[in-house]
């Protein structure tokens, strides 16, 4: 359980990351759809100590969202089927976006759509706003019939949508991939060659839960997206495989709850991480992770988080001794 102590050396390790044109002071993003616009969590977490908030995905038209229930607790995680409830881009630009300027952290917009044209349209309008530092393309939402996710499940469609969006903005473009695919490396490669600046890996896994007393699916939408620690090993592998296929940075996510989990993602090849479901356990977790990462690096005499990205070593030998979990 040893963390080492940061006071030991004079040097405080550098946790800043660069994602496309974005410079973030911390490698911790708050995952889309889990953190509102940041405002909801402001009383409970010092937003100036997180890397960025990724906003809830917005679409061209307003959406009612899925029928209730939308949430089910499952072993080591949860299923959600929100169905992209949002006010649509017009209302969003007029009533919401101006407020984001007040956030003491970087704000990244998230765009969802059902056609290549709509992805480009919504991105162009949202990216034009100064309050939005970068765009995450949610081409992997599992909760809107088959339409939303098909983009991230087909290399050709991924390429088309990323090219169309690349053409309408110079801002940093993060493409969020789905784990519900046979070969994530192929999709990752396609997104990179189409002009993505970074990848978010992974969105939720599709799942279902049934009430055996009522003989009914527990979610109003029947199926939902699985998140939380249950999906972590799937996510670590997806990051590992995607990182070998591309040279752009990866925002790793899926079940990260502490610094040990985060380190798995960095070692697998992620340059930054996103935290979603863990905020539902304790909103102080992202800040604790940053403190523990700093201590981990300092204890090993490492000056920058960048020194460990993708360093998971296959084969014999390790520069370090096993010391148990971090933090």
């Amino acid at each position: 359980m040893s963390l080492g102590s940061t006071q030991k050396g004079a040097c405080v390790p550098d946790l800043s990351v660069r994602i496309g044109k974005l410079e973030l002071p911390y490698p911790t993003l708050m995952a889309s759809g889990c953190y509102g616009s940041g405002e909801e969590f402001e009383p409970f977490a010092d937003l100036s100590q997180i890397g960025a908030v990724v906003l809830k995905s917005v679409t061209r038209e307003p959406r009612l969202g899925n029928p209730m229930p939308r949430l089910v607790a499952t072993p080591a995680g949860m299923l959600n089927a929100i169905g992209l409830q949002n006010p649509g881009i017009d209302w969003y630009l007029d009533n919401e976006v101006a407020k984001f300027a007040k956030r003491p952290c970087v704000v990244i917009g998230s765009v969802a759509a059902f056609s290549v044209d709509d992805y480009a349209y919504v991105t162009q309008r949202l990216a034009a706003r100064a309050e939005i530092a970068a765009i995450e393309l949610n081409i992997s939402c599992p909760n809107v019939g088959s339409e939303g996710e098909t983009f991230a499940c087909d290399p050709d469609l991924t390429g088309r949508v990323v090219r169309a969006v690349r053409a309408v903005t110079d801002k940093t473009l993060i493409v969020k991939l789905s784990p519900n695919v046979t070969d994530i490396a192929a999709i990752a490669g396609e997104a990179e060659s189409a002009g993505a600046d970074a990848l978010a890996v992974i969105n939720t896994l599709r799942g279902m839960s049934i009430d055996v007393h009522a003989w009914k699916p527990r979610l109003g939408n029947v199926s939902g997206g699985l998140s939380g620690p249950a999906i972590r090993p799937v996510a670590v592998l997806a990051v590992y495989e995607a990182a070998r296929a591309v040279s752009i940075p990866i925002v790793g996510q899926g079940g990260i709850e502490n610094a040990t989990d985060a380190l798995e993602f960095f070692l697998a090849g992620a340059s930054a991480i996103a935290i979603g479901t863990a905020n539902f356990t304790d909103p102080r977790i992202p800040i604790k992770i940053v403190d523990e990462l700093r201590a981990y690096l300092a204890a090993r005499g490492l000056r920058s988080l960048r020194d460990i990205v993708g360093k998971a070593n296959v084969g014999f030998g390790s520069p370090f001794q096993y010391e148990g979990d971090v933090g």
């Binding site: 759809g33 909801e40 038209e61 307003p62 009612l64 209730m68 929100i82 006010p87 709850e257 356990t281």
Partner: protein, 270 residues
Amino acid sequence: MLAGPSVRDVVVLDRTELAPGVVLLGFYAPELVAVTRPGQFVMAVPPGGERAATALAIYEAQGERASFLFFVCGARTRELAELRHGDKLSLTGPLGNGFTFAGARDVAIVAGGVGIASVLLPAQMLVEAGARVRLFYGARSVDFLVDRDRFATAGCELCCATNDGSLGHRGFITELLAAAEDKPDLILACGPSPMLRATAFVASELGVPAQLALEEAFACGVGGCWGCVVPLDRASPQAPKFPKPAGDDGFVYARVCKEGPVFWAHELRW
């Protein structure tokens, strides 16, 4: 100015099992007591816990001690039920909009099972303000009509119902409400959703406004994920002011944790 909601670790003071699986958990939280309004809740989790926090109503709030009254029905409540004196507990809150009852003179409070946890604070405040308070309290059996003496001592008139007839009326508590002699001017209710739906029906028959405290499944508890929704009349002052989507039929999904957990019965479209 009073401080707003926050996240903090608190220490457990006492734990009592009032009935099989029904736990009363007291903890030291003077700051929480100072800002809590009746009908509000907190998100609670043992620190370092692996699971998402659980939404629990604030049952008692007096001086330096607040408490939860909960039913052990799954992994998270089981974990909370294992806490003992001196253990720590991480709390986010108080959250949500509570009951509003200013000016009410004759109030019927309807509680089913551990729904009782949401109604002690409003009952106490109403009695203190000089209102007549009738508690319509229903449960499986007499053993599960927990802590009813406290309500009697607080000055409430008690009407009880049990499924097995072990105390009071045999049947549903809403049947007693419908048969009540004089009409209350306000109804407050918390309990399982079939009971709340029945309460909404009885209230509309009686022509009495009713506020229902809902208990949907929560994830974030603070309005960040849109997971905990109920369909609400667009005209409700509590409704999110989103534009109408295509095929709109007059309702919008509102977050139970943010816009609620208390809603006017006649504005729900469930």
